[in-house]
């Protein structure tokens, strides 16, 4: 994985803006955001519903294109990439974890995890081995053959996390990863993220969850599409392992 101390800046956004609509109906979902995320850093983005957190995450991961501004991943400017290049970027360098899990209902847990690996060109055998390792890592090796419909919410999200790690991405973006989970499942996911962070993975997490936010290296707050504040947890303060759930 990637080491924060040795890597420098992995993700950089400058004057990033995203507008929807036009004229009277113009909505500025992301407004002139500047952001730098170091390699190995865990960043939590917080804010009220509709403030533009998810839109920002989509821009950072190349799921959506900014209206203006610059976006760099490592040394590469990514806001002007073609759809195909953005797909390759998402395939190799970025992993996504969604609030709604977004697992393929027709594929079992293992096949869901294999999906990005196969897209990246791994052989079926190598993809299978990789998926087994990751499922073991998230504690679901005994559920590998189960369809998503046979898994609990927490288990589905752990499969989604394993899938996000399938191609050893430089950056994992998580959009309210515990938003649909009960407190026990939230705790499981929180521990997983803490483990990933300790291993040096770069994380950007949009969350309402104080536990997740507290475990981050840095927290930024958004309102009306713009950053309105940034805090760092007190040195040596442990993460809150008593999550309060969405909106809490």
């Amino acid at each position: 994985m990637h080491d924060q101390a040795s890597g420098g800046v992995l993700l950089r956004a400058h004057a990033l803006r995203k507008d929807y609509g036009s004229g009277e109906g113009l909505i500025r979902a992301v407004d002139d955001v500047d952001l730098q995320v170091a390699r190995g850093e865990a960043l939590a983005v917080r804010g009220p519903s509709g403030c533009g957190k998810s839109t920002l995450l989509h821009l950072l991961g190349g799921l959506d294109r900014p209206t203006a501004g610059e976006l760099w991943l490592g040394e590469r400017r990514i806001d002007r990439l073609s759809e195909r290049a953005l797909a390759r970027l998402r395939r190799h360098e970025v992993g996504f974890v969604f609030q709604a899990f977004h697992l393929m209902e027709e594929l079992n847990a293992q096949e869901n995890v294999e999906l990005p690996a196969l897209l990246a060109g791994l052989t079926p055998r190598a993809a299978r081995q990789r998926a087994r390792q990751l499922l073991e890592r998230v504690g679901l090796d005994d559920r590998a053959g189960h369809l998503p419909s046979a898994l609990s919410g927490g288990q589905r999200q752990r499969v989604a996390i394993a899938r996000a790690l399938a191609n050893e991405p430089a950056l994992v973006l998580a959009d309210e990863p515990t938003g649909n989970l009960d407190s026990a499942a939230t705790l499981e996911v929180l521990r997983l993220f803490q483990g990933l962070h300790k291993e040096g993975l770069t994380l950007v997490v949009v969350t309402h969850d104080e536990g997740i936010a507290a475990s981050a290296d840095r927290r930024v707050s958004m309102r009306d599409g713009a950053f309105v504040g940034e805090t760092r947890p007190v040195e040596d303060a442990g993460p809150d392992l008593h999550p309060t759930g969405p909106g809490g």
Binding site: R84, R90, P116, A120, L122, R163
Partner: protein, 609 residues
Amino acid sequence: MGNAFLVWRLAVKDIRHRPVLAALLLVAIAAGAATLTLGLALRGTADNPYARTRAATNGPDVVATDFNGDPQAPAQASDVVPLEHAPGVVAYSGPFPVTWASLRIGRTRATAAVEGRSAAPSAVDRPRLARGSWVRPGGVVVEAGFASALGLHVGDRLRLGGTSFEVVGIAVTVAFPSYPDSLGSFLVGSLSSYSLGLVWVAEADVARLAAVGSEPVFYYLDLKLDDSAAARAFANRYTTGSSSQQSSGPSATGGASTSPTTLTLYPWQLVRSQDVKLLARAQAVLYTGSWLLALLAIASVAVLVGGRMAEQTRRVGLLKAVGGTPNFVAVVLLCENVLVGLCAAAVGLLAGWLTAPSIAGPGAGLLGAPNPPSLTASSVGLVVALALGVAVAATLLPAIRAARQSTVAALGDSALAPRRSPRLIRLSSHLPVTLLLGARLALRRPWRLLLSVCSVAVMASGLVAVLIVRTTAAGVSPGPRVTQAVAIISAALVVLTAINAVFIAWSSALDARRPAALARALGATPRQVTLGMSAALALPAFFGALLGIPGGILIYEAPKHSGSTTIPSALSLTAVVVVTVLVIAVLTAVPVSIGAQRSVAEVLQSETT
């Protein structure tokens, strides 16, 4: 390799995940493929049974008769005797006396051509016994096609010209065309109906039957030539007199008729052509039907694929989110339908292959099974190309559109923005609330409604064409093969249209689930939503059914028809329109009402996740 494996896995798993949709898609394409297979497979299938029967019965190369078209004109065996020694003749049988008589079995009545035979087997035209024994005084042998049509068995009794006979045998021949094709026309020109069967009796019985019925006796001579290919020339050479009287008889295809005291000779090719004529008609029906079904299949697949795409929006978003390029996504969606198309081609080929013998079957009048349906590589290629073409044509645009959709929007499962026409909105504002709701929801997708109009129009055109066939041919049976072919096409058209109707309704309900839920949240009842949408979807069915009337006439008249077209009565055509609209309304009500029962909260909430 990984990508190919992944495309295969995603396609197969999704097909297995939604088996009903895949099955319906398969049925839609397979119906067209099967009909085309049937049409292609029928080519030449009748030749083999004819050849086998001809060999088994030592069938004549030429049949000569002194029947001159005038039942009152006397005929003598000596009229045809000189032909026995004509150059080129290597064997002969006869002359055999022939007359006709009314036939009765219980309440069933028919007309029979009665040929007198001796107990000894003849050198040429030895009717091959399928069952029982050969003729004897008081015992008759019935031509197998005729026996099959009348349900006669060995041991049954029948009455010929009022005299009771026992059926002692059932046999086949190629001296005459097999029943029910054109024996009447062949034997007696335009003097009799088509439904004339052949019965062999003891030679002495012919004169007796002719006397009872005051019918003439005429003679048939069966000739074998040294060069059977020269039969047509031989027949032309020895046919004497003019052929003017046989306007609807065999003269058009090689035989000729004469004035009294002259001879008529029929070459074996004429009998064969009569045996395969109805098959050719069935083939023409199947060809036309397969094009109709292909059109309907495209509409079905477009509807089904459109519906599936609406369900797969989030899947598309997910594939793109984990790194699938737009091309990859399009390939996955295309591959699924191509796979179904390939399976449908296989199913259609198999179904066509298996059905062909029953349509191309020799009938009871010829021996053995027909040629295995002659599916050449080019036929198979054509059917597969049709199936794949339908799948690709209907999938390509939706697949490309889905692949180009914004990943974020797809992940949010956002429905495509509906098109709104201010004029339609203004018009619908004058409707009662129920219809207004339905019209506003259904009119969100005008192209889908147009597809619905086209789909119903194709089906209605097919049904109207069938109706015209029945009306125009009133009183004259088009033959079992044509009837079977028409039945197959009609059933396939109705099934495909029903599938289309259900899926257009299902897609519309799926597409309109959120506005429909919103309408219910504001006070509309599920019944209002269901009734409104069903009514709104029945309206295109009405226009489609109306278009089907000129469409059906066009389909009937497109091929060259010798006779005039009889348009069915206004009542029949109105019935087609009304029944179509009612059936479509009922069919669409099912998926729409299921959609209307979904929890409002659940539907509205899904918009925000």
